[in-house]
Symmetry: C2
Subunit: 273 residues, 2 copies
């Protein structure tokens, strides 16, 4: 059973509703953040909080809660989820509006959710992604704007692709909800712009120090096709190999040894979190 | 008092709520349309319905209602609004989702709302708009994505601007929620791309036939500053003069005679609707 803290009150998530004059719903004016527990402790809480605050500032929605208060709410939600791991979503909207534009105060929801895991076989076989020419609007903000990804759902199914790889002007940026890395020899390469800076991306960059030469820079689409290994990082996926981009096979078509090395590293980290 | 039809049930709008796992709220996956009554009859209903259906198709959200059923709901909502004119909003979202991506069916809300009128003086003095370099994402779809306009609210207040004028690469497109026209001599000019095709724009183009030479084509930003008259069109504004773009004064700085002519024409049309 999952719960939701909404402007100060906790109730069952399935019983929580929002008025229809919310600016998130009427104007797409909202942002979120999303993290999960390991050993029932929030993973990288400080980094997620930092990003949530940054998104709110950039989208000009005043954040109504302190880090300490939010941390207390998160603890309560984890406690209410009796056992096992759980995901937590912060959803901050422009708030209720009488005229569809102005609002007196934002709405903040903090929601516990089930974690949707990738299939175990994907960690061996890798996933297929479909390329799509697009840069997310205001990509550094974790806004709720996923309309392009939603529109692509039927095409992804037809092409048996698990996700979309955004590129523009010959450069890749990110997947719909995760970052991308390339490996060539001892180089670990990831795009530096038009991306949401993922917390797992940041974690992997920390973990890779010492073992890889790290390059954070523009990354070409062709360069990605030609890479020895390609993988994606996200809160729920951790380190997940990409073995196909459209009809092109990456490397061996399975997880590569260096991706496996980084996956093992992050698995070790979360095991002892 | 206003009402809302939500998936088949009518209730007071202020009592209507939506579950927090709606894809409009979680993923910005939604669209709307918006029209008003004159003489308690929906203005240009056929054209609004056509646009609503087109938006739904382009955003790949299946429209769950026929035109006849929707027309009946609209009549009921107008009837429940005991007297005077009313605005009607159609809001169609991706629907409820257990995993924040997939959904079994969309959510449709049809809501009656107060009409927010422009100040009478604005029809004489014109409004000031602030230029902003941006093209709306998927501009031909009336999606709920207004985050840029929402972010600009404080800057608009500081600059005493009533709205924003979007431009990109030296060409204008539209205001936040309305179209733009220029008048030079007997030419009536309006942009042809990167816009939402407004129903009032379409109405004005019909009304202007015979009196103006109409040009629907790319329109330069400088050309707009240099125009004899500039005005904007929308459901609630009808024909509203623009007298200032940033610190630049258009024409006389008041409503021009040809804008007044078109305003009178549309006022005549709606009076007898």
């Amino acid at each position: 059973m999952h719960h939701c803290w909404f402007n100060g009150t906790i109730a069952e998530a399935s019983d929580t509703q929002i008025n229809i004059n919310d600016l998130g719903l009427l104007r797409g004016y909202g942002l979120f953040d999303y993290f999960r527990t390991y050993n029932r402790k929030p993973f990288q809480w400080d980094w997620y909080w930092e990003r949530y605050e940054r998104s709110a500032k950039l989208l000009k929605i005043p954040n109504p809660i302190t880090k300490e208060e939010a941390g207390e709410v998160v603890s309560q939600l984890i406690g209410l989820h009796r056992q096992g791991e759980v995901a937590i979503r912060f959803l901050l909207t422009g708030g209720y509006s009488f005229d569809s534009v102005t609002s007196a105060k934002p709405n903040l929801l903090i929601i516990s959710e089930s974690i949707h895991y990738s299939a175990p076989a994907d960690y061996y076989n890798g996933i297929k992604v479909m390329s799509y020419e697009y840069v997310r609007d205001l990509p550094t903000i974790k806004s709720i704007d996923y309309k392009h990804y939603m529109i692509l759902q039927s095409e992804l199914k037809e092409k048996h692709a698990a996700d979309v790889l955004y590129y523009k002007d010959g450069e890749i940026s990110e997947l719909s909800r995760s970052n991308v890395f390339l490996i060539n020899g001892h180089k670990l390469i990831t795009p530096n712009k038009n991306i949401l800076e993922g917390i797992t991306r940041r974690t992997v960059l920390e973990l890779a120090k010492g073992d890889f030469e790290i390059e954070i820079r523009p990354v070409g689409f062709q360069e990605t096709l030609d890479a020895e290994e390609v993988f994606t990082t996200s809160t729920t996926k951790r380190v997940l190999p990409i073995s196909r981009i459209d009809e092109h096979v990456i490397g061996s078509g399975k997880i590569g040894p260096k991706t496996q090395f980084l996956l093992d590293k992050i698995n070790d980290l979360v095991k002892n979190w």
